[in-house]
Amino acid sequence: MNPFEYRRPKTLRETLRLLAAAKDGAKLLAGGTDLLIQLKERRTLPSLVVDIKAIPELQRLEHVSQRGLHLGAAVSLNRVLDYPLLAQHFPILAQACVQLGSLQIRSRASVGGNLCNASPAASTAPSLLCLKAQAVIAGPGGRRRILLEDFFQGPNQTALGKDELLVEVFVPTPSPSSRGCYLQLTQRQEMDIPMVNVACLLTLGRGGRCQQARVALGAVAPTPIRARRAEALLEGHALNSQAIQEAAEAAAKESSPIDDVRASAEYRREMVKVLTRRALQSCLEEAASP
């Protein structure tokens, strides 16, 4: 690692001051499971590393009844997973968190870090896109709040300015009648980066009619994306095998994957279809069983 200065501010204000003073020479450190690798490989050469784990707001983990989950940017995945209400209200987030890395990685890694690293394959992104999560961002001009789908701008690129930081992810509580599923395809069962990941969240009305649909895909575009065509095909229609098949095919068409060491573009596109279909099918089955 190249030398850098280390600071561990206790307030947001101090953090913002440090970021402003460092121009663009600062890197924020939460769990460090991505940043330390980048530092070791000299892919980033910051003059200042700001450890944000001591800032109380960034450690907030609180479900405000009916409204949503305040998920501080530095909260570790294991803490998220241990949160009693998570599996009940946000099962697709739990499914994504538990499949990210190893237990050791989850002791450190945070949802905020996973999002800010902005890998197209980020495990938590599709579920959070489905949940209509918002990014709460602090900067010199105060706070702003944007939808997560506007947060990702490209591979490893986010809407964060150099002098801004992600404070928390706010995840609105989905309707109690919603059903969701998160699936990822990896070569190894654990400890692997998804070749494709898919999340969906459906609100089903009477007679199995799909009132609202969210489908999100990872590792098949420059950023995690929503499959809007697939969503449109589902909304307002009865959820059945045919609708599911059509939505899955639409999702595959909406993806724009590339070839890399993990999989070919062709395989990824086909797997979007398979995983989307399976995820939707699982919602349907869950809805059918009381």
Partner: protein, 734 residues
């Protein structure tokens, strides 16, 4: 079978306590005052001419103590460890630096100026054989039994085996099938990266602490490559964090010594995982075409095999043993094998657990299943009909002594995991066999009797698989004492008697024989002294229960303790048992694997449901350790079969991390059942080698299971989800 007190018992490993508490010492744990850190500048090209190399800025960097390039390295060291005028593989070393910290050394690498002229990259063995392929080495002429070729090529070696008349053999066959199989490059996957520490004293004597499988073999190779007499080199072997054939010390050893010589200070070199993946000596990729013929009754009539083994950028002079092992489990009247070793712009390959054999078995055993299917015959029955027994000849003309190949198949036939039906869609059960001859070599051992009648064993072999424990079991058994009364030291090359490298599944067979002899030698001396002390002829006494006693009169005895005490206080002198074993006869072993898989037909993902490994081990001195070897080999084979791969682009490795190089984790594997068959060999106690045979059948066993599950024949490794998906889709499209 002989009843033993300590042999055949699962004593806990003696080295386990240190490893469980963090006290065991590996090379990277050493810290010598004044030690420098050595790092290597690696080529970013797989094939390029070095136009200019300027290390002057690196030398001038404060904290840098020594810089070496090919100019500092004697030609006898070869050019695989450091490029001279051409780099021949990605990460081919170009220079090495020793500095006071690793950070400074790495910064110095950034100051070295190299100008490369990229050359066309030859990355495929079959392509490399073509006459118009770019040449890696202008002076490489194919070696074969008939001499040296007259024009240079990328074919380093051509080996042929001929038996009978293959044309006539195929003419007799009712079924003939020919297919081509390909295997990929894989890494040993040891958890401890390559490491060594070298120090040169004022008289020029080199001491090197290394993670090596053979201290003496390393010393010889180091001496030969640096032109040093062996008396000037002391190799201190440390605990080895996994070897599997990949730890011969020569990757870092010569560079580390040269840096230490130039710097006049100790130098430590520890590879990063990325370096280890890019620079170590992996298993060779192969392309193997197998043609088999059999009668309607299922008797093999002929085999014709063409094997192409990629050597990487530099070829070893020895043809791969896979040329021989693949067909050797079967009776074959007519055989033609053409084996090629071909250089390509990839890291030089090396030995990896039963070197060359799993690749050959993948091709042959898949083809055996294809033949059985074509004949409408059960794959186990087909193998029964053709398996070799005592008196048959292997492909290398070795006449088999007593072997347990048939017994292994019988064990499979009775095993519940073979007998019970496998239910469920897209599930299949695969079977494959694999044989291994086992290495030969020389080793010696010294057994000192301590003044209180306890024992101290000194050997120079490195303990990879629990051999320290095995040797203590042998001494305890032979001398009738408790294992607690025996200490064992794995000495260095200055203190221990010679030992061959711990490789080729030989250490228990070969050093075990030396230890047994040392016990016999010590016992003979005890008997001589006991008889003298009792005033009778040697023939009238026997050694038993820590005593030398009169035969038939056990009340007349002299105790081991008294003889031991006398040995240091009388003119008779200390008692030292010496043993040496020279080239034991090979003890061929067969492993047969039964594996159940489930395939997700939509994603191609393969799940191993159950795995059963049957193996003739001759005699299991320590059954738990035998099981552990087998289970580890199976896991390695599963990774080789399903997920591990070197992915190159223009000869540069694209997946040089343990995130993208997919070694199996615990979540990828089931429990691994083992079934031990014991048909004694003529080695001491009947042992056969254990560590290598169990990887040989694994690749084919899994491929055969996938075939049964899906109907697709995977002829190329690894069988990743995507590869299986593609095969299923191709089959559906017809």
């Amino acid at each position: 079978m002989t009843e033993y007190s300590f042999l055949g018992k699962s004593l806990p490993r003696l080295d386990a306590a240190g490893k469980l508490t963090g006290k065991a010492q590996y090379v990277a744990d050493l810290n010598i005052p004044g030690m420098l850190h050595g790092v290597i500048l690696r080529s970013p090209y797989a094939h390029a001419r070095i136009r200019r190399l300027d290390v002057s800025k690196a030398c001038a960097l404060p904290g840098v103590v020594a810089v070496i390039t090919a100019a500092d390295i004697p030609a006898s060291a070869g050019r695989a460890i450091m490029a001279e005028d051409k780099v021949l593989y990605g990460s081919h070393p170009v220079a090495a630096v020793a500095a006071v910290t690793r950070e400074i050394a790495e910064a110095a690498l950034g100051c070295i100026e190299v100008e490369y002229e990229p050359l066309p990259v030859v990355s495929d063995g079959v392509e490399a054989m073509k006459p118009d392929a770019p040449l890696l080495h202008p002076n490489l002429y194919t070696e074969s039994m008939t001499g040296k070729a007259s024009t240079p090529s990328n074919i380093a070696n051509f080996t042929e085996f001929r038996r009978g008349d293959v044309e006539a053999g195929f003419a007799q066959a009712a079924v003939v099938r020919e297919d081509t199989y390909r295997t990929q490059m894989i890494h040993h996957g040891y958890l401890e990266p390559q490491a060594c520490v070298a120090q040169v004293d004022s008289g020029g004597k080199v001491t090197i602490w290394a993670s090596v499988q053979g201290a003496f073999t390393f010393r010889e190779q180091l001496g030969a490559s640096l032109g040093l007499p062996l008396s000037r080199i002391r190799v201190v072997p440390m605990e080895v964090g996994g070897g599997f054939g990949g730890k011969n010390g020569m990757l870092l050893g010569p560079l580390c010594v040269l840096l230490a010589q130039k710097a006049g200070r100790p130098v430590r070199m520890v590879m990063t995982r990325e370096e280890d993946l890019r620079m170590a000596r992996p298993a060779p990729p192969t392309t193997i075409t197998v043609k088999l013929g059999a009668t309607r009754e299922g008797l093999l009539t002929a085999a014709e095999v063409t094997m192409v083994y990629e050597a990487g950028a530099f070829a070893s002079p020895l043809p791969p043993s896979g040329f021989v092992t693949g067909l050797s489990p079967y009776c074959l009247p007519n055989v033609k094998v053409n084996g090629y070793v071909v250089v390509v712009n990839k890291p030089p390959v090396g030995a990896l657990r039963a070197p060359g054999a799993p690749q050959a078995a993948f091709a042959v055993e898949c083809q055996m299943d294809q033949m059985a299917e074509a004949l409408g015959m059960d794959p186990l029955q087909f193998r029964f009909k053709n398996i070799v027994t005592q008196g048959d000849r292997a492909l290398n003309d070795l006449t088999y002594a007593r072997i347990g190949f048939q017994e292994v198949l019988e064990k499979v036939a009775q095993h519940p995991n073979w007998v019970r039906p496998l239910e469920g869609k897209y599930r299949g059960r695969g079977l494959a066999c694999g044989m291994w001859f086992g290495g030969v070599g020389s080793s010696a051992a010294t057994l000192n009797i301590n003044a209180d009648g306890t024992f101290a064993l000194l050997v120079g072999s490195v303990d990879l698989t629990g051999t320290r424990t095995i040797f203590v079991q042998i001494v305890a058994e032979e001398l009738g004492v408790s294992p607690d009364e025996v200490s064992v030291v794995m000495g260095d090359t200055d203190t221990a008697p010679y030992a061959d490298i711990a490789a080729g599944s030989r250490t228990t067979r070969q050093m075990g024989a030396a230890v047994q002899q040392a016990c016999h030698d010590a016992k003979a001396e005890l008997i001589r002294r006991g008889a003298a002390s009792l005033g009778v002829a040697e023939g009238e006494v026997e050694y038993r229960d820590r005593r030398v006693q009169m035969k038939g009169h056990p009340e007349k005895f002299v105790s081991l303790r008294d003889l031991a005490r006398a040995s240091i206080s009388t003119a008779a002198g200390p008692i030292v048992g010496r043993g040496a074993s020279t080239r034991p006869s090979p003890a061929p072993s067969l492993a047969a694997h039964v594996v159940d898989v489930e395939v997700d037909p939509e994603t191609g993902k393969v799940t191993v449901l159950s795995y059963t490994a049957v193996q003739d081990v001759g005699f299991a001195i320590n059954p738990t350790m035998v099981e552990g070897q087998i289970q580890g080999a199976v896991a390695m084979g599963a990774g080789w079969a399903l997920s591990e791969d070197y992915i190159f682009e223009d000869g540069i490795l694209q997946n040089a991390s343990l995130m993208d190089y997919h070694q199996p984790t615990a979540a990828d594997l089931p429990m691994i059942d083992t079934a031990i068959v014991e048909v004694p060999s003529d080695n001491p106690y009947g042992v056969r080698g254990v560590g290598e045979p169990p990887i040989v059948p694994s690749l084919a066993a899994i491929a055969n299971a996938i075939h049964k599950a899906t109907g697709v024949r995977m002829s190329k490794l690894p069988m990743t989800s995507e590869a299986v998906w593609r095969a299923i889709r191709a089959q559906a499209k017809g």
